[in-house]
Symmetry: C2
Subunit: 135 residues, 2 copies
């Protein structure tokens, strides 16, 4: 049944991207692939690939996003864990039928063809889990 292919990324909420990069890129030595502003979500994201996975540093650009609220409430730190799956639709239906609480009933389809959905931390030991199906 398992079609979890691996950890796609681990997302970390930060107050200031440039400041955070001083640690993650300059001191720890991860390579910075690129920085992207996602206006629709009110965030700026730095992508730092590592092994077969990625560290994503997320800075909220306003105080409205979920990420901004998280930062206000809990401070900077690990925000969510993203697994790559083979078939996200099938996986969501399967989880739902087992009583797992979903945040997204249906996957969001991104411009690049990626499909993604979040599970509720209440069902997952307090961890916010994102699922990705890559095109």
């Amino acid at each position: 049944m398992t079609d979890i292919k691996g950890i796609d990324h681990i997302a970390i909420v930060v107050e200031d991207l440039e400041e955070a990069l001083k640690f993650w890129r300059d001191r720890l030595g991860l390579a910075l692939d690129h920085i992207e502003t996602v206006s629709s979500q009110g965030v700026k994201i730095a992508f730092l690939p590592v092994g077969n996975s990625e560290v994503e540093l997320i800075q909220p650009l306003d105080d409205k996003s979920g990420v901004a609220k998280y930062l206000r409430k809990k401070g900077p730190g690990m925000h969510h864990l993203c697994f790559e799956v083979e078939d996200i639709q099938e996986r969501l239906r399967d989880l739902e039928s087992q009583g797992v609480r979903l945040i997204d009933q249906e996957p969001h389809v991104m411009d690049d063809g990626r499909k993604l959905a979040f599970l509720h931390p209440k069902s997952a030991s307090g961890v916010l889990i994102e699922l990705y199906e890559l095109p």
Copy 2:
């Protein structure tokens, strides 16, 4: 300079391992490799490999460990992020010389030859980072 080889594991603190496995193993579908009791650290750990990495579920067995205090204060959730490095000694000296706050000045050497050390979250966007050098 970078010798970070990948994410070795992501550690998640849980209240009850058997209860947590109902999600991570039975519903999400990760394979359970084994469960280990580490009495010296007062924890019980479930190892669930995924892709080239691993999810570790950690349940405190008493109320004295750092993990137990974390659970009491913050509830269940992501606890630390572990990267595999080539040379942990060199890496610790390098980080220290750049002003990164270390929890462990010297690596702990495990029975299986693994060397590990923690960096302080104050230096790493609030994330508790563990470094591993595998034998």
